[in-house]
Symmetry: C2
Subunit: 440 residues, 2 copies
């Protein structure tokens, strides 16, 4: 796991004034990567790093020879419309460029006036999915989510016997992963309505979000060559926010025996900024198990894991319905949870995924699975908050929800804080549910 270094120093201040503002997601200690261009321009997408309310255009800075040596080589890999090439370089290169960026954006940097011309306001930018995602795998790492969902389906036996042994995962759809801000059309699919004897084709009536952390893979592994749990984080570039939109009624009818399919593959949404594993170093926590939980098999266990295998990321879900927007009301927080409560760590996901020789590639995305915490208000989906649709939630304007309604905007935010470290944030991932296409 990444060690702390000078880039994490909470005393650092940037010559980009907005990066020093209280509450910014993007202080100089963060430096997340994304892919952007000026809004509605025809220019190609390019790699940028968030600093305060600005974006540092790495291609522009590299062209001005503002990096040297290994940092320049790393920056060259960023001169592309996706982060895949940079993700492939590995942690030494990432760390070298991060240090160079940290020094160049600090107060007192000699070439500030040259770098200043490489800034683009975030408000003027549009974003793309940060990498070309070859394969997307969704895990199921929250034992609280698995238990909550299991209780709705099997009250006597909520958690399946494999859960505490295997980081359960399945393959998802890459092509329909979009970027924050893309609206999501309510899918039409085949559903079996309660009490019906035959299914119908209909718009989903149980639309949901799933509050997830997205994990971008850095260097891959060759087919047939597992990655050990000890080495696993060397293969991880960074984390983002991830909404794995779900149609619960579709899922219920289709998922036996091979798992979710049309209930998930119509859309997933990532946040623009990928917070690097190095930036997350100050927020690592011990990875613990409850009394009675089984000892993981050796391929899923490591001393480093127990010391700091968890990552403290506070996650929040907000809703902003069409009526709330029309009434000028603010977004309403539906729930919150923390990624430290995941039963399985990032390194365990990677080690399990590859133990059979499955090859990961730079830019692959792992979803953490819905992150629910132990308390009732820490549920990461509407399905859980409304107890399977039986207990409606009341919004501040009196609207009620069991599942999502057309026009609802769902926003996830995330941030990290720890003693002796500044607060860093993930920005947001946002999407609005559009009405279904008319049936033909």
């Amino acid at each position: 796991m990444m060690a702390m270094n000078e880039t994490h120093n909470p005393e650092l201040r940037s010559w980009v004034a907005s990066a020093n503002a209280a509450g910014t997601d993007f202080p100089i200690q963060n430096l997340p990567f994304g892919v952007f261009r000026r809004f509605a321009s025809a220019e190609p997408f390019r790699v940028g790093v968030a600093i305060g309310d600005q974006i540092l255009d790495i291609t522009a800075a590299q062209a001005k020879s503002l990096f040297s040596g290994d940092a320049d080589l790393a920056a060259q890999a960023c001169c592309a419309p996706t982060l895949n090439g940079y993700m492939a370089l590995g942690s030494l290169a990432w760390s070298t460029l991060r240090l160079a960026l940290s020094r160049a954006l600090r107060e007192g940097y000699a070439l500030q006036s040259a770098l200043d011309t490489c800034l683009v306001p975030q408000a003027d930018a549009e974003f793309a999915v940060p990498a070309q995602i070859g394969d997307y795998t969704d895990f199921y790492t929250s034992v609280h989510h698995a238990t909550n969902i299991g209780k709705l389906l099997r009250p006597d036996n909520p958690l399946l016997p494999n859960y505490k042994w295997i980081p359960i995962g399945y393959h998802g759809r890459s092509s329909s992963i979009g970027i924050s801000g893309q609206d999501v059309r309510r899918p039409v699919s085949q559903v079996m309505r309660p009490g019906a004897s035959e299914p119908v084709l209909a718009p989903s009536a149980r639309m949901d979000y799933e509050l997830e952390v997205g994990i971008f893979i850095g260097p891959g592994n060759a087919l047939g060559e597992p990655v050990s749990v000890q080495r696993a984080e060397q293969h991880v570039f960074g984390l983002c926010l991830f909404n794995d939109w779900s149609a619960r009624d579709v899922q219920g009818w289709e998922y036996q025996p091979l798992g979710p399919f049309l209930s998930k593959n119509f859309a997933s949404t990532v946040s623009p900024w990928v917070v690097t594993m190095e930036a997350l170093a100050p927020y690592r926590q011990a990875w613990t198990r409850a009394e009675g939980d089984p000892q993981p098999l050796p391929y899923l266990d490591a001393a480093e894991l127990h010391a700091q295998g968890a990552i403290g990321i506070e996650l929040e879900v907000f809703i902003h319905s069409a009526a709330m927007r029309a009434q000028g009301l603010a977004e309403h927080r539906l729930s919150h949870s923390n990624f430290r409560d995941a039963y399985w760590s990032v390194s365990q996901m990677v080690a399990h995924h590859t133990v059979n020789g499955c090859n990961l590639q730079p830019g692959d995305l792992l979803g953490s699975g819905t992150q629910s915490g132990p308390a009732p208000d820490e549920a990461g989906s509407m399905m859980e908050l409304s107890k399977g649709g039986k207990e409606p939630i009341t919004l501040p304007n009196g609207e009620q929800r069991t599942f999502l309604e057309d026009g609802d905007a769902i926003v996830f935010r995330g941030f990290c804080q720890a003693p002796g470290a500044v607060r860093i944030g993930f920005g947001e991932v946002r999407g609005t549910l559009l009405p279904a296409r008319p049936l033909a």
Copy 2:
């Protein structure tokens, strides 16, 4: 669906003599596409078309200006290391180039001597996966397979209630799809042995193949825009043979509740040649249902489908164990089945996959699912042939098999025949099971 035309005329003969030989998979009526280079050369992979025991190098032929007009434009899209660009063009372009190729390879072609220099013997070539596969989806279209497997798990209730309503499918792993001839290492993974109270990490002891047809997507659809069952085949480029290697013990322990994962994602193998939908036109058959099977929902039903929704492809599985090879014995046919017996058609797979707006892209691969037929010797997996490992199969040299042993080579072949048409074949997909990596 593609109509018959002059390229299907059984009287056509090629100036490539081996294409006229009895029993060849690649007569002039076939013309399947693949990606090849001279064996062990450093040259880039390139698109070729099989003719007899030769490959026509399309890039070389295009460079010699042997095509004109729209056929030349189509051939230009083949001047690439994958078929994705050509697959994206659609059926009008495919049909135009096919006609040009058919005429150029016929006896009497005026420029035969120029084209002759563009031939490479198949025996001198190595092959690559024909397309960059963005997403791979595996279906489950054989009701016989689903019933056989279901009987092993749920003797009283073998077929789940959704089976005859939904073309069941799930997402698989793209990165580990390889080409015929690549060996497959027995995966190590977590398994729960019969009677054990705790799982162990171990090499799979229940290794299996799955006899499938692979379906390459041509032009994609935009996110949110379904493809109708009537238009579905316009989005299909062609078919190949596909072995979806499976570790049954891993699958049994991991698959609840989200489906197969490590039991499948260590390797899948495609055949080098993709037989186009146009080449398959003479082998179309009526798509029928048994008495009592439900009427498909309208989005899965069409008049064309009933007339000729099925495709008659005879599929065969051969085993060649290490001992058989050492003894000089021929391959032994384990089973055979026919793709016409699939419960769901290619067009129904595409229509279902996209009905929720999921976007397909050129080069995406759909697996048909294991193709088992109604008779006991028509089982498409060892799991079925050995009744879940309870009834060993005896090979010609006296060896017994319940599942695959290290060193076993598995070969699939496929061919089509119909009255008034020549026989065309798919070549083969071959892989040998290697021993597991030593446990650390």
